[in-house]
Amino acid sequence: MTSDISYKVIVGLEIHVQLCTQTKMFCGCALQFGAQPNSRVCPVCLGMPGVLPVMNKHAYEYSVLVGLALNCKVAGFTKWDRKSYYYPDLPKNYQISQYDLPLSENGFIEIPLESGETKRIRITRAHLEEDAGKNLHTAGNFSQVDLNRTGTPLLEIVTEPDMSSGAEVKALAVELQRMVRYLGVSEADMQKGHMRFEPNINLVITKGGKEHKTAIVEVKNLNSFRALERSVDYEVQRQLDEFIDSGKVMEMGNKSTRGWDDDKQMTVLQRVKEEAHDYRYFPDPDLLPVELDDAWLEQIKSQLCELPIKKQIRYVSEYKLSDYDAGVLTADRSTAEFFEEAVKAGGDPKRVCNLITQVGLKLANEAGCGIAELSLTAENMSELAKMIDDGQVSASAGNTILEQMTKTDKAAQVIAEELNLIQKSDAGELEGIVEKVLAENPKAVEDVKSGGKKSKKAQGFLLGQVIQKTKGQANPKVVSEILSKKLS
């Protein structure tokens, strides 16, 4: 039935990112998640008669910073527009947003693919707007309105329809999360609704040599990576099935809006009033336009940092780390910076990486903080890495030492000595023990000398015996060398 059908998935994404300013976009109310309802509200964000908005400088600068990180053309002149619609969570019944002169346009973002390669997704625009409050739907015949969130600065980022799977859409979302966290402009905490997604999905289906486009579906208000990925995948299948069943294709403007039902794991058609789309944008007369001169732009630019995807690629090429390890280290900026500092202090990249990824992150996780917030210095970390590499301590002892380091803020060397974890590397002392072991194990000595299959195993056995005799303190590298010499 479907054998002559092939299709291409086309997805564009709209992302709302909540900026982590101290205060709202146009008033001094604190941004505080989980505060008592309607307690972070003032006349301005309540839209009282006579109030006027005054723009938060940080919100604007943060937005420009993201625009730069997204390789956008940042506008030297931008303004604020009113977007009109009536909804109880929007007290003014218009939202202050940006319409025809967004603060940045025409950029791109590189996203990592599963293949290890990257893909460039074009960014249409990124603009700043204020968030609405929250309508809460009660069990009764009424709804409740909480305006604490009203006026929170939101960056709306719109991509071109350059993605072709749920996985790619998710990769972009994750990359963006990593990016805004690096830039320090958003906590991007999904649980707190700091990132919300609206993918636009349709298919180009080739059947019998003819191309058909399915109608675009916008899925509203997704706030987890999982829901984002699944809703896209679900839509792809649904649109394909619908096409096969009914042959339904795109007509003029038959874009529809659907919601994601997380319980049923499916998208559901939403009814939206037609007239709701006449937003009657016009320049907000209460706010002045913004002119960004070169000096200011440079000042904002100086707050840019190496972006996570670039770091990740560099870690692979420069430090010879695996893409996976590089991804773990660059997941957040403070871990990456801690890693780089430790490497700069002389630690071997691979060794430092292992210490961080195998122990450090677990400890940080247990402590409920980032690795840089544990009582660890990059210097101590690199010292520990060197001790392991020099054979002063074993790799497993290294893990123990690292754990102690986070608890005591003592240097690695001190802890190693206190815990008796320094390996014996004195060849003279170890030679005596080796000779004793050889004398006690003539069969194994025989096996080594005879070569062949058993030789390697026997040598390992002898090494183990020596280590055991020193209660684990013999440096295996030195012991191996002595063994090889004696048995050759």
């Binding site: 938060n56 007239e275 709701a276």
Partner: protein, 102 residues
């Protein structure tokens, strides 16, 4: 002479404006708005091809405030003028559609 705006348009604009107009108001506004729009048409005799729109007369740009927290009103004052409240919330009849614009 055809009217600049007809009753159907007036009704549509009334919905956009969230105004529940009576039939007689619709009729009255259709006539009056038509007359006003007819008058406004005179602007079309002006060539504004190369004229910039002037949204603002002010010679200034870039008005910002520092990102510093100021005290909010407090829930009681926020709700003091509310026509209806439910605990710490504003109360409205149940919202069944999703017409949020953000």
């Amino acid at each position: 002479m055809s009217e600049k705006i007809d009753q159907a348009q007036v009704k549509k604009v009334a919905m956009l404006s969230r105004l529940d107009l009576t039939d007689s108001e619709v009729a009255e506004f259709t006539t009056q708005l038509s007359a006003i729009l007819e008058y406004v048409e005179k602007m079309n005799t002006l060539d504004t091809e190369n004229v910039q729109p002037l949204a603002h007369c002010l010679p200034i740009t870039n008005c910002f405030r520092d990102d510093v927290v100021k005290e909010s009103l407090g829930t009681e004052k926020v709700l003091a003028n509310a026509p209806q409240r439910d605990e710490e919330f504003f109360k409205v009849p149940k919202i069944l559609d999703d017409n949020s614009g953000a």
